[in-house]
C-alpha cells in the first residue's frame, strides 16, 4: 500500500489532486481511496487530502498518518510544525516551490515550481496537475500516462490540454534531475 498526503490551502485543488491520483491508479487496475480532511469549505484555510493505492481492496478509513509521500501544494505551509508528521523513513516529499529543493541532500525531497508551470500551461495557478506529474516521476506509484488519462477524463478542452501539458512538464523536470543526479 502506498499512502500519499496532500497539503494545501482551500481553493488550490487539494481534494481534486487526491481524486485524480486515485483515478490514475484506477486506470492501472489498482485499488485507490481518496478523501479530504473534512471541514467547512473555506478558501485559504489549510486543508489536507489523502490517497491510498494498493493492489488489493483498501478497507481502512482513518486519515493517512504514515504517508509514503507528502505533496505540499503551498510552500507557506512549510512552517507548520506537524506537516511532516509520520513521514516514513524513506518517504518522498514534493513541494510546490520555485526556490529549489527543500533538502538538496535528500534525493527523495524535491521542489518543483508547480504554480508557475500551471500558469504557463493553464493560465491559472492550480498546481495539482503538475504536482501529480512530479509525483509520478518521483515515486513511480502511477505512470505519467495514467495521470494524463485521468486529467483528460476529468477535464475537457483547453483546461484538459493545459493541465496535461503542465503535468508532463513537471514530470520531465523531475525525470531530468534524476537522470542528471
Amino acid at each position: 500500500m502506498f499512502a500519499v498526503r496532500f497539503h494545501g490551502r482551500g481553493g488550490q485543488g487539494v481534494v481534486t489532486a487526491a481524486e485524480l491520483l486515485a483515478a490514475a491508479a484506477f486506470r492501472e487496475d489498482r485499488y485507490a481511496q481518496a478523501f479530504p480532511s473534512f471541514g467547512s469549505e473555506r478558501m485559504g484555510a489549510p486543508v489536507m487530502s489523502f490517497c491510498r493505492i494498493d493492489d488489493k481492496p483498501i478497507r481502512t478509513r482513518e486519515p493517512v498518518t504514515e504517508p509514503d509521500a507528502l505533496l505540499i501544494q503551498d510552500p507557506t505551509l512549510l512552517h507548520q510544525a506537524d506537516l511532516f508528521d509520520g513521514l516514513t523513513a524513506d518517504g518522498y516529499v514534493l513541494v510546490n516551490s520555485a526556490k529549489g529543493a527543500v533538502a538538496p541532500d535528500q534525493p527523495r525531497y524535491r521542489a518543483i515550481p508547480a504554480s508557475r508551470l500551471a500558469i504557463a500551461h493553464l493560465g491559472r495557478p492550480l498546481p495539482g496537475a503538475p504536482m501529480l506529474g512530479g509525483l509520478a516521476a518521483l515515486t513511480g506509484v502511477v505512470s505519467l500516462d495514467a495521470v494524463v488519462a485521468a486529467l483528460n477524463e476529468r477535464f475537457t478542452g483547453k483546461v484538459a490540454a493545459g493541465n496535461v501539458a503542465a503535468a508532463i512538464a513537471a514530470y520531465e523536470l523531475i525525470a531530468e534531475v534524476s537522470t542528471n543526479a
Partner: protein
Amino acid sequence: MLKQIEGSRAVAEAVAASRPQVICAYPITPQTHIVEALGAMVKKGELNAAFLNVESEFAAMSAVIGAAATGARAYTATASQGLLYMSEAVYNAAGLGLPIVMTVANRAIGAPINIWNDHSDAMSQRDAGWIQLYAETNQEAADLHVQAFKLAEQLSNPVMVCMDGFLLTHASERVDVPEQDQVDVFLPSYEPRQVLDPDDPVSIGAMVGPEAFTEVRFLAHERMRQALDLIPDVAADFRQWFGRDSGGLVKPYRTDDAELVVVALGSVLGTVKDAVDELRAEGIRVGALGITTFRPFPVQAVRAALDGDHRLRRVVVLERALAPGSGGIVTADLRAALTHETVNGTIIDTVVTGLGGRPVTKKSLRQLLGRAVLGDLPEFSFLDLNTGLVEAELARMRATRRSGPSAENLLRDLG
C-alpha cells in the same frame, strides 16, 4: 459499471437507476453531493423525475409522503439536524406505511454543532419504525439503495440507508455502480398497497383511538418481523443479478473460532478488519461482526454468529453514538438479543468511538483489543478520551458557578 467515484455520486447514480419519480430534499452537510448530483441528472433530462427544492427537511419528508401516497416512487436524503427537524414526519411516514427510501449521511447531532461523522442521527430515529441499513463501503451504499426500494415497496415500510458522512460520502473509491438495465430487472415498478386515486377514493391518515391503536402498532412490528425474512432474500436476489454480496442482516468476519469479537456498524468495519487481520497474524483469535441491518434488530442472525461458541469469551461493541445516562445503544440491543447463557458467560464491553468525526485508527483499535484480550477493559469506556481536558473543565465547574460554556472552554484549553 466499474468506476473510481465519490461515494455520494455512486449513490446518486444507483438511486437514479432505481427510477425514482419524485426526489425532494433540503441541503445539509454531508448529504449535499448526493442531491446535487440527482438534481443535475433531472435537469439534464437524464433522469425523468420531479425534483423539488423545498424549504426545510420537514417539508422534504412531507412532500415525499404526499408523493408516495399518490403512487410515486419517492426519495429523499438528510443528516443530523435535518433528520431531527423532520422527525415528526419520519414517524408519520412509517406509521402510514409508505415505502419511502431515504439516505442518512450519518453525522453527529449538536449542540455542540458538529458536521462530522457519527451515528447519533440515525440512532435517534431507531424507534420510528423505519428499516435501518448501515453501509460498510461505498459499494454497499450504492447497492443498498437499490435493495432498499425493493424492500420498502414489498413491505410497505420506509427504509433508511445509513452511510457514514464524509468517510463514505466524500471518499472516492472503486465502485461497481449498478446499471440501469440491471436494476430494471431487479426492481419492478412500484405497485402501491394504498394509493390516492380519484377513481377509487380512500381516506388515508385517520385518527385511531384506544380501540385499535395497539393493533396498528402490532402490524408495524409485524412488518419489521417480515423484514427479517425479506432482507436476506433481497440480498440473495441481488447477488444473483449483480454477482456480489451486499446487504443482508449481519456480516461475520473471522468469527468462527474467535475468542473476542468486535461488533460494529458502518465504515469503521474496514479499519476493524485490518486490525483483526494483524492481530490474527500474531496469533490472537479475534473476529468482527458487522451489523448491516440495525432495524429490525437481527436477533437470530446475531445469536447464530455469537452464541454457542464456548471459545467466545469477549465481545467489544464499538458504539458510534452515545446514550447519555445510559451508555451504549447497540450494546443494549445486543444484550437483549443474546441468550442468557451467552450473556452470562461472555464479557461484553462497550467502547464509544469516533464521536463527532474523531478518527478511529487501527493503532487505537489494536491497543484497545489488546487490552480487551487481557481483560483490562472497563465495561464502558470512551476510546481516545482526553481525560486531562475533561478533568480541567470539571475542576473549573467545581471552582466557580459562572464557569462559562463548556464547549468553548474545552476548545480554548486545546489551544
